[in-house]
Amino acid sequence: MSALKETRTMRLKALCLVLASLMLATVSTPTPAAAQIEVNVNKGDVQPLPIAIPAFGGTRGADIAQVITGNLERSGLFAPISQQAYIEKGLNVAVQPRFPDWKAINAQALVNGQVTVEGGQLRVDFRLWDVYSEQQLLGLQFTSTPENWRRVAHKISDAVYERLTGEKGYFDTRIVFVSETGGRINRTKTLAIMDQDGANPSYLTDGSYIVMSPRFSATSQEITYMTLRPEGSAIYLFNLETARRESIGQFPGMVYAPRFSPDGGRVAFSVERGGNSDIYVMNLKSRTSARLTSDPGIDTSASFSPDGTKIVFNSDRGGSPQLYIMNSDGSGVRRISYGSGRYTTPVWSPVGDFIAFTKQAGGQFHIGVMRPDGSDERLLTTSYLDESPTWAPNGRVLMFSRETSGGPPRLWTVDVTGRILRPAPYPGSGSDPAWSPLLN
């Protein structure tokens, strides 16, 4: 009996030991990671991102939403959803949206906000939501004066654009251009400026003389441009903040095609004398000039690289106008364009990856881009007359002037891929646009 009891006790102990071991093993042994099935996704549905931008609450709330909507839509990367499709109305910026309502209309992102005017200050709170992840991607508050509401809308557009694409925006910017009125014979060319969305157009000259090739400084609200009067041409600097306007000096011959260096301290320009054009550069502090080219051909349209060490220009020294690059002291000239046709008005991208140009070939004009070494040339547009490209500060969008046969020139935009081509939102006739850097 005792032996039987002992055996039972031993069995019980053994069973307990086994159970304990099993429990321990269960706890301590890591669960093997779930095996993942790998698949490749090599196709997509490339289209503008559907985004909902309901009217912000408060004074000017609807206007601000409308400006943001226009900016994002014009970029070609976003497809704002009609407000009439919205299910959730009256969003509160302090309350999370009802995401199923936004998923139902296929909104991928949602921007909502609230405008408050207090003590003479405009305050705009806004939020950017990822509808499918149900997460807030951005939450910012801008304050300014009430009359600055459009700039606040542009700032919000830039923030949304950057967060959803990964690239800097370009909406809080201005365009300086030549406004053209009148017939082909007696056309008036006036220096004008507007917001990039065509709002707030202003004239900076009175139209009594011809204005050409305005260019923005990359570092300040200063422009340079060329004037043409019966007595000759001149290059001016014009500070938009102080309204100070000055000539950079007198030169023997015709001066034209000015452009700032990236640091704003120098201006490159061309001087034509006796049928020969060469490129000069002036230090704006010392007012000393240096001649960079001395070839018998026509050298013009100098444009600095973003780091200021190189200059791209066009020259007919090889027969037809082609693009060349040289060091900023004039040394090391080398040709980069070798295609058929005539290459003119090169402009180095602010981010440095491309050089935009005008190309004339086969009776048509094109706006194109190529890498600084001349590779990867792509023609983005084709028309009767496309010319004078200028880069948005993010280096992804170009504005240029397009003229149809017999029609006045208009401003157009195209993205660097050439897929997003559309008229600029300026109803008048304009040419020679120059895009400002992002405003501060």
């Binding site: 095996a35 790998e38 490749n40 090599n42 910026v93 939020r127 910012l140 004066t145 990964g166 997003i420």
Partner: protein, 273 residues
């Protein structure tokens, strides 16, 4: 005996009522209170009146001719740059819309008993699916004409095809057509960021798990790319995650893809061509 029956009926009725009550409580979606969102991060625009008001500039009719010897005064200091934008405050967690219901007993993924290693979970990620090979294998396995047999039960021809099994990851028991169905749904929802610089070069590997009932279990992650310091990579990862979430919510997904852990790799270079 009669009394026992009566007691039993009463107990049954109480039981039925209680269970019914629990079921109704589980099905009713209580209106949830709006979720308050955290405070925003203030950013001041320091605007300069003369900076934005161009009337002064437009009225400046007098032009000043500078002499070449006089140095130009330095440009006035730039307006203060807005403070760098800190990360937004994350929103409060969203409460679940309804109590978790017990997951229905899911039909297990179809398993081909003839395949080797069916029962062993793979320790390493399976070889990536080659859709071309997959399509070819589907085409091969598809009968050239006529109606398919209505008597067919169990594993499909595609699944048993050797090429398809190798492509799908042997042992997972997911047919080639189901795999293709999932990939197709993701592709329909993926909107790669082709137009921005660098957007075409991004490869994003997303991991997610679908429950047996077709819900995404846990997080949909992109291996940290969703929080990359490179904004283009981050945006690309977010787009890939968005595509997965959208596709996962599609009730038209083949049921075989449920109850599995997935790792789609989004190849923008291919998609943007």
């Amino acid at each position: 005996m009669t009394r026992t029956r009566s007691d039993f009926s009463a107990a049954m009725m109480v039981s039925v009522l209680l269970h019914g009550g629990v079921l109704v409580a589980a099905l009713v979606s209580w209106p949830k209170a709006p979720t308050l969102v955290g405070t925003t991060v203030p950013v001041n625009i320091i605007s300069n009146a003369t900076y934005t008001d161009l009337r002064a500039a437009a009225k400046a009719a007098q032009e000043q001719m500078a002499t070449t010897e006089q140095p130009v005064p330095d440009a006035p200091p730039e307006a203060a740059v807005e403070a760098p934008l800190p990360d937004p405050v994350p929103p409060a967690p969203v409460p679940a819309p309804s109590p978790n219901k017990p997951a229905p007993v899911a039909a297990k993924p179809t398993v081909d008993p003839t395949a080797k290693g069916v029962q062993k979970p793979a320790d390493k990620p399976q070889k990536a699916l080659d859709l071309d090979a997959l399509s070819a294998s589907i085409a091969k396995s598809r009968p050239s004409g006529g109606k398919s047999s209505s008597a067919a039960r169990g594993p499909t021809k595609q699944e048993t095809a050797l090429e398809a099994r190798a492509a799908a990851g042997a042992g997972k028991g997911v047919s080639a057509s189901a795999l293709a169905g999932l990939v197709s749904q993701i592709e329909r929802r993926w909107n790669p960021n082709c137009e921005v610089e660098g957007g075409r070069d991004v490869r994003v590997r997303v991991t997610f798990t679908l429950s047996a009932s077709g819900q995404v279990v846990g997080a949909v992650e992109a291996g940290g790319q969703e929080s990359s310091s490179n904004p283009v990579v981050r945006a690309a990862a977010e787009r890939a995650i968005r595509a997965v979430r959208q596709a996962a919510a599609d009730k038209a997904l083949p049921r075989e893809v449920y109850g599995q852990a997935w790792a789609p790799t989004f190849n923008a270079q291919e998609a943007c061509q």
